[in-house]
Amino acid sequence: MIKTAMVGLGKMGLSHLSILRAHPDLDVVAGCDATAYLTDILSKHAGLKCYADFDDMLRSETLDALVVATPSKLHAPMVQAALERGLDVFCEKPFVLDVADGERLIELARSSSRVTQVGYHYRFVGAFKEAARLVKSGALGDVHHVRAEAYGPVVLRKRGSTWRSAKSEGGGALYDYACHAIDLVNFVFATPSAVSGVVRHAVFSRDVDDEIYSTLHFDNGASGQLSVNWSDESFRKMSTKISVWGTNGRVTADRQECQLYLREPHPALPGVDKGWTVRYTTDLSDEVWFYLRGEEYSAQVDYFAQSVKERRLDGENSFARALDADRVVAQLLDDASGNAVFAGREPRQASRPGLWSRLFG
């Protein structure tokens, strides 16, 4: 059994905790969060040993692995403390807010042979895996354009009350939504080498961006577009889509389906005819041992557990891969500096992030 602890029992944290506790190879020995009402409920009704102080937990418990699901600003120091204690680490996305921190942590993990993973769960969605497979097969010919989109109904009025609405904490659609879309580009096609024409715009928020648009440039000469908006109420929940155009066709994938159009059959995809080929999540999803909110959340936890067991140090979503996304975020911030426009002038209301928003927000 892999003795595991969790820090950050917020929105993703509780969902992770449920999945971690259901995993047959993981023994969740403790959880940590500064919010007393949550840790009280979990210790009283879920029988979980809880700490309010992270360092106290690291000192007191004998651990093999740590899962970090705290606000983004806290990732770097907590991951560092865990690596220094020789723990394998799963960290929620985005990995770090400062690329230099990420480089240091990657080196630390490498020198101590630690397993690392970041929670870019879309890499475990069947339809996106299929898109990556199709693109990497070369069947699309020369890829010349990519479009990554993410839309959803997170900020729909002028207010700001949680860490997600604070720029300094790693909030905003850039860190919450855009980094998922960027990681999908990296996963399905390639990491862009440059960005231009960046628009970061607040629709309702005061301190952070609600929409991000940018042109992406790739080493092979291909271009891309990033289009992200978390202030779109017409979506029931976050909706992410990637399209890749090549000289021999196109692939479009979202969480539910992967659509391929081939102008001509290609030897890399035997048996696939020209024209449309559509595959659905029912066909593309691998069975998981426990389901909560989507196969991908369980699949990524299982992948981490297997990596720890097999000492797989360069797996999917390693710190090094996740830092590729952080580097693009840094470029987006750099290109947009001085251009970002913030709307929303009303005073902020203070309120606490709650249990339900932690689960479903």
């Binding site: 506790r21 409920i41 997170v154 029912t282 066909d283 999803s285 389901y291 249990l355």
Partner: protein, 301 residues
């Protein structure tokens, strides 16, 4: 409430065919485009009632639905036209989680709890007093949340009340199993209804309910030939259905359209202990065909 508690009464039989609500609220596991088209069509309450009427005319008199805000409008319609649907019943599934999420995002947890809970009573006083939720009696709060969700169904028949899978499975993984008992006892005592649990993890949930001493529970889960979202696998599900004591309700029997109708329903109807099948559809022809197939395949067993 319309039904008094009947402690010790034999559990009521469920209808063989139940009508689901995903299609009305933009939930489609196959295609986001299709989901959007459906939410456009069903913005209008009249369009929803038309489909429910079609199902009713085909003999489907149970509507299994989330406690979505729009379901309140549907409930109003059925209360107003009671004579038209004398034997109609609802199987509420709670909660519609996004409703809470939105309220909490906007107002914070304590405020949101206040909004969903009654203004009077000990818990409201406790929240007003700013007492830490730590001491909170999880049972009292859960009961009040259930009551809040049940409000829209007042004076309607609700013989089975379900806990939604996102909550069931979250609690299951967290090992907060006592919440299943709280739900069970309150639904029985307050509503004289049979508590049900929706899950994607049948074998694991049955273990938890067994340990709590909850006997012969109603459990609704994906049951389909290709094993789509059946954690533990098709074989474990078939084995549980054949040998364990619970009342299975099959949903997602077509696996979002991945299995042809006859083949899908044949698989489900071949397992005689499956009590009911829930499906959603938007057109009368589709409803008629599905209902007829279930009737035909159920009779021939």
């Amino acid at each position: 409430m319309s039904q008094p508690a009947l402690p010790g009464a034999a559990p009521a039989a469920m209808d063989r065919v139940l009508f689901g609500d995903n299609q009305f609220f933009g939930v489609n596991h196959m295609s986001e485009e299709k989901a959007r088209a459906q939410s456009m069509r069903f913005q209008d309450l009249g369009a929803i009632i038309e489909v429910l009427d079609a199902a009713y005319q085909e003999g489907i008199r149970t509507f299994m639905c989330t406690s979505h805000d729009r379901v309140a409008e549907i409930c109003d319609h059925f209360r107003k036209h009671r004579d038209k649907y004398p034997d109609y019943r609802f199987y509420p599934c709670m909660p519609y989680a996004h409703k809470y999420a939105n309220a909490v995002t906007e107002h914070g947890m304590i405020e949101a709890l206040r909004m969903f809970l009654p203004q009077e009573g000990a818990v409201a006083a406790m929240l007003k007093g700013g007492m830490a939720l730590a001491n909170k009696d999880i049972e009292a709060i859960m009961q009040l949340l259930i009551d809040a969700e049940m409000k829209m169904f007042h004076d309607l028949r609700t013989p089975v009340v379900f806990m939604q899978n996102v909550i069931t499975d979250l609690l299951l993984g967290l090992r907060m199993h006592e919440c299943f008992r709280i739900f069970h006892d309150h639904v029985r005592a307050r509503y004289g209804a049979e508590p049900g649990y929706i899950t994607m993890n049948v074998p694991r949930l049955l273990d938890a309910l067994d340990a709590l001493g909850i006997e012969n529970p109603v459990v609704c889960a994906n049951i389909n030939k290709i094993g789509f979202r059946m954690c533990g696998g098709v074989v474990a599900y078939e084995d549980a259905i054949a040998h364990r004591r619970f009342r299975p309700v099959a949903m997602s029997v077509f696996a979002s359209g991945a299995i042809p109708p006859r083949e899908a329903l044949d698989y489900v109807c071949r397992q005689p202990r499956i009590e009911a099948v829930v499906f959603g559809a938007s057109g009368r022809a589709n409803i008629r065909q599905t209902k007829a197939l279930i009737d035909e395949l159920s009779v021939s067993r």
